[in-house]
Symmetry: C2
Amino acid sequence: MNISQTPVVASNANPVAPIARVFDNDRSSAAYRLRIALRLKRLDPRRDHVVIHGAAATHREPAYAGINPQRLVPAIELADGTVLTQTLAIIEYLDELVPAPPLLPTSAVARAAARSVALAVACDIHPFGTPRVGLYLGEAAGLSPDAVRDWTRHWIREGLDSLDRLLAIHRKGRYAIDDAPGIADIFLAPQALVAERQGFDLGQWPILAEVVASLRLLPAFSETVPA
Amino acid sequence: MNISQTPVVASNANPVAPIARVFDNDRSSAAYRLRIALRLKRLDPRRDHVVIHGAAATHREPAYAGINPQRLVPAIELADGTVLTQTLAIIEYLDELVPAPPLLPTSAVARAAARSVALAVACDIHPFGTPRVGLYLGEAAGLSPDAVRDWTRHWIREGLDSLDRLLAIHRKGRYAIDDAPGIADIFLAPQALVAERQGFDLGQWPILAEVVASLRLLPAFSETVPA
């Protein structure tokens, strides 16, 4: 990789540094969000940054704690060595680094709506289904595998019920918010895939199912799915 | 309340609407975040918006689902009737509505750092300690009160361990990121208070303890604490 080939830095009062390394994991639905965002921005790992895959970017590799104290993926390392963590923070940074196409709507209210959909996934559904939570409930709390599965499914069902109603309020186009795929979609599609893999039929959430069907026609979403 | 007395709307290409109503709850640490943000922006509920308190803004009042499908606090209603949910989305909107003092740093990297601290709280600590989660674990999963308490304390300990290391990386001033209180602080201080109420001594996280001590000297943080 040649850092000098990274995309041109936005020239404004707030200089942003290019991404040098992306810490990814094929099995992570959070890492899937960032893969979608990088594709939407037309960044290419063969040209624009190095991708660190798999165990080297997870809690299974202790040295990773020196990169991300939370030992979660995704994370990015900038050309100056700064590491940024938390998917939404990374994607907002990416949106400043590479302004086109924008991942946030132009109106302030629609931006808030888009962020609220992303956060309803990131804060109120996703955390409950992560491997570390399943491990705690099974090992430390002594729940049976069936009880852990019930727990995971409970938060998906409750969360997607709410999300479908949020979309009914905020959706003004083909995708979650408007006719451009953006941060709401980037969080929605990976969570919908997790729901399907947990045995849910998306048809019970009609608006969400329609949005997800539209998103799956886009290579940025279909060619980056987790293993 | 007189809507015409609300702060002047930012005049740029992205018009923002003033806040008409704030759905608050004295017992919620998420609502505490928004109370801090409103105070930092020098908005005053006696002049700038109506505050809907308590049960009328929670899942205990079924009609609230018509305001916020997630039935969580906080939420805000704009002058045109639009409801915005999710604390971080609301606070980013507020930062666009009332630009001074800014709640995000001026450099893109510092903005990402601030958002990552806020999200590490919002996604990886706070969700596990909410009442609805305690209720599920106690009633549906059959965990004892002690096991629920162990669960809550586990995620606080692990989360604040990581946060203290994140602050070591990103902190460049008196508060979480720099010398201006902002979104990282707005998420950090309420979580620190929850930790203390769960019996933790903040001294085990020295950087976090120092930031929180500085924040508690500010009326925006000290005069808005939950019951």
